[in-house]
Symmetry: C2
Subunit: 185 residues, 2 copies
């Protein structure tokens, strides 16, 4: 049985994004201990609530998450005026890990997204020339070492709904019975 | 003279949001050292690039920022497929500080937003009863102690544009000459 928070999240994401990319913000602890955050696309949500993202092994966020697994994922759904905050831990899975999920996700990406994993190291000084940046890579190509999954497991979830007075704020802990707690907004 | 990053940000925010609230994600370091993030509304950008947010003195983020000033602000502009990431430090200004800006920002808020600062402590177990949650407070009412400003000063700014091939990624350091550096996306 899916937890209340997961049903609510899935329903809101489907309504907000339809077939469009499901954007979230992923916050991590940077190399220097300061918070970092960036927009990511959720590639799937497992039945237990695990959130799947793809990311380049050479990117800062993968480095950060290998060092400090704590993370927060925020979904802001502007048309609904609803926010989900997911506090949890992330595992990074790469070529060295035995993950069938990694290959499945790779094959589901667009050609344009797959191509990005063959670009020069992200965040380095820009390499000139278009030849270094392929624009399409088909699903028949094996995923390169740069292709990694970020599997984010929420430990606590908060939902804030700005449509009612007063605003409705609820929290769930995902372990145990996942009972919901109503909070002051 | 405004820096290149600031002109670019202001132009993109105006185009994305018009007169609607300018939503961003604010990432901080939580009480337990884990990253926290939530959606906030930018209430103004000062000529030097300082970003102004309002927040409840009793909220977690104010507590967090008083303890650790490092923060990141992310603007994702979905209609433009452009992202700005601002890494910097935040100062929290409250009733004890001599800030004329605090009163100016208070008076510019909507009645509904001002009312929230008279609600019971955010994040506590929900207080029942509507009487505890006023829905309108006029600008003539003095700002309560719960009303604080978060003044966020960006130290480095990254802009990512997904509309071109390859994606265009630039970084500015806001001190010194604020020269821009092109990075691999």
């Amino acid at each position: 049985m899916a937890a209340g928070w997961l049903d609510a999240l899935l329903e809101s994401l489907a309504r907000e994004f339809g077939d469009r990319p499901r954007t979230a913000t992923l916050a991590t602890i940077g190399r220097d201990g300061a918070p970092r955050a960036r927009t990511v696309i959720c590639r799937g949500i497992e039945p237990g609530g695990m959130q799947v993202f793809v990311s380049d092994a050479r990117s800062e966020k993968n480095f950060e998450l290998r060092k400090r697994a704590e993370a927060e994922v925020v979904y802001w759904l502007p048309s609904q005026r609803v926010q989900f905050r997911l506090k949890g831990v992330a595992a990074v899975g790469g070529a060295g890990d035995d993950m069938t999920r990694r290959v499945e996700v790779w094959r589901d990406l667009s050609d344009a997204t797959r191509a990005m994993f063959f670009w020069p190291p992200p965040g380095n000084v820009r390499v000139e020339g278009m030849g270094e940046f392929p624009d399409r890579v088909g699903p028949e190509v094996e995923p390169p070492e740069s292709f990694e999954l970020i599997m984010f497991l929420p430990m606590s979830v908060e939902r804030l709904d700005l449509n009612v007075h007063p605003h409705d704020r609820r929290r769930w802990h995902t372990s145990g019975d996942a009972a919901e707690l109503r909070l002051n907004p």
